[in-house]
């Protein structure tokens, strides 16, 4: 049986939420943090919140953001698993392609699905398309018999609904309740998470 592993990025593979990290570059840290928290708690929809947060951060040059993102701390156990199973692992992130491309290609080293940015040179204009994570899973269906999804937030719900196995992972913060209700497993420790993944390889 061929299995694909779909990982959320922020707070799952990364040990920090990425947008609040970027916001330190402009003086909007508290505001972005608040929006991120409200989104994580499922109080405002990801799509609107994400578009708004991108707008707030759009004054920062893309290359500056990419540099910040590149320094984000990754979970070593999850990274080891991805590196060892590169061909069947995917990052499925609502984050912007121009912001996370470099990080995924150079440090995580697997294929990915992301939201798409509208930009001109080094200047971000806005969001062209917010990723529907369920659609990413649907796309992988043609190549795989089984899909395992790993995530923590509201925008992972559509991915869990379309996947065969859902693992709610509370690496950085507790996974949102709606996602827990769609999951088969819940864990807060990345070594335990990798332990589950090994059984589905």
């Amino acid at each position: 049986m061929k299995t694909a592993f779909c990982f959320d990025l922020d707070g799952t593979v990364t040990k920090q939420e990425i947008l609040p990290l970027i916001s330190k570059e402009v003086e909007l840290h508290e505001e972005i943090n608040l929006l991120t928290q409200l989104t994580l708690d499922g109080l405002i929809p990801f799509q609107n919140s994400f578009t708004l947060r991108v707008k707030l951060l759009s004054t920062i040059a893309i290359s500056t953001v990419a540099k910040v993102v590149d320094k984000v701390i990754l979970d070593p156990h999850i990274i080891d698993f991805i590196h060892a199973n590169r061909d069947n692992c995917y990052i499925v992130t609502g984050n912007l392609d121009v912001w996370v491309k470099e990080l995924i290609e150079t440090r995580i080293k697997c294929d990915y699905f992301s939201s798409e940015a509208e930009y001109e040179g080094d200047q971000l204009i806005g969001v062209k398309k917010v990723l529907d994570k369920g659609k990413a899973v649907k796309e992988l269906r043609t190549k795989y018999d089984r899909i395992v999804a790993i995530g923590d937030s509201m925008n992972d719900c559509t991915m869990f609904q379309k996947a065969d196995i859902g693992i709610a992972f509370g690496g950085v913060h507790n996974p949102v309740n709606s996602l827990v209700k769609l999951s088969n497993f819940v864990t807060f420790d990345s070594q335990s998470l990798v332990g589950i993944l090994q059984n589905y390889k």
Binding site: V180, N184, F185, V186, T187, D189, S192, G195, Q198
Partner: protein, 214 residues
């Protein structure tokens, strides 16, 4: 540690006990029941707990004791059996595992007796002196192999709810775990002291007999 994986089933309503709380969260002395079980299992690498009834409360409490537990969800806990929970908790495991009910009191010494009796390639059942109200009795031959389970006739020993499975998987549609074991009899057994809390009188018994644990 010979035992690498333990699956604890703690999804049920515990309706016979008549408390509006999962049995694993019943307070015994200073802590809740599952605290003592996790103490006993401290040296085990992988702990899985199957959760259902009031899963948020169980997860929150367990997480405060041990961070690396894997919770397996049984959302259909109110209409499914313990055997189904055990299926969910173990079907994907590649390695052998020990199963323990989430309403069990077992101290370190007795768990060690069980672990010492394990031969890694052979299934093993822990039996205990019959004392619970709804006992499933075991009949054991002179080599300590279980030959039969029964509600009647009774015997001196009962199925404890603790077992080591190396050679078979628990079916999805099983009724009771002992019925899942039945086709594989005879099976090696080991005698341990442990207590299970199904009813108020089981709870009284535990508080009287093994209060030293708490």
């Amino acid at each position: 540690m010979k035992v690498k994986n333990v699956v604890i089933c703690a999804a049920g309503l515990g309706s016979r006990l008549g408390l509006d709380t999962p049995k694993c969260l019943v307070k015994l002395g200073k802590h809740r029941l599952i605290y003592y079980l996790l103490e006993t299992l401290k040296a085990v690498e992988n702990i899985r707990i199957v959760v259902g009834f009031k899963e948020e409360e169980v997860i929150e409490y367990v997480k405060s004791i041990r961070e690396d537990v894997v919770f397996v969800r049984n959302p259909d806990y109110s209409t499914t059996t313990n055997s189904y929970s055990l299926h969910l908790g173990s079907h994907d495991l590649i390695e052998p595992f020990v199963t323990i009910d989430g309403d069990m009191i077992i101290d370190q010494k007795n768990f060690q007796i069980f672990v010492d009796a394990i031969d890694v390639n052979e299934d093993l059942i822990a039996i205990t002196e019959a004392k619970t109200e709804d006992a499933v009795f075991v009949h054991v031959d002179e080599d300590k192999y279980i030959t039969e389970f029964s509600r009647e006739p009774i015997s001196k020993f009962e199925w404890s709810g603790v077992a080591y499975f190396a050679n078979f998987k628990i079916n999805k549609d099983g009724q009771y775990v002992y019925q899942e074991i039945e086709p594989h009899l005879p099976m090696k057994s080991v005698m341990i002291d442990c207590w299970e809390i199904d009813t108020p009188s089981d709870l009284d018994l535990v508080m009287n007999e093994v209060s030293h644990i708490f």
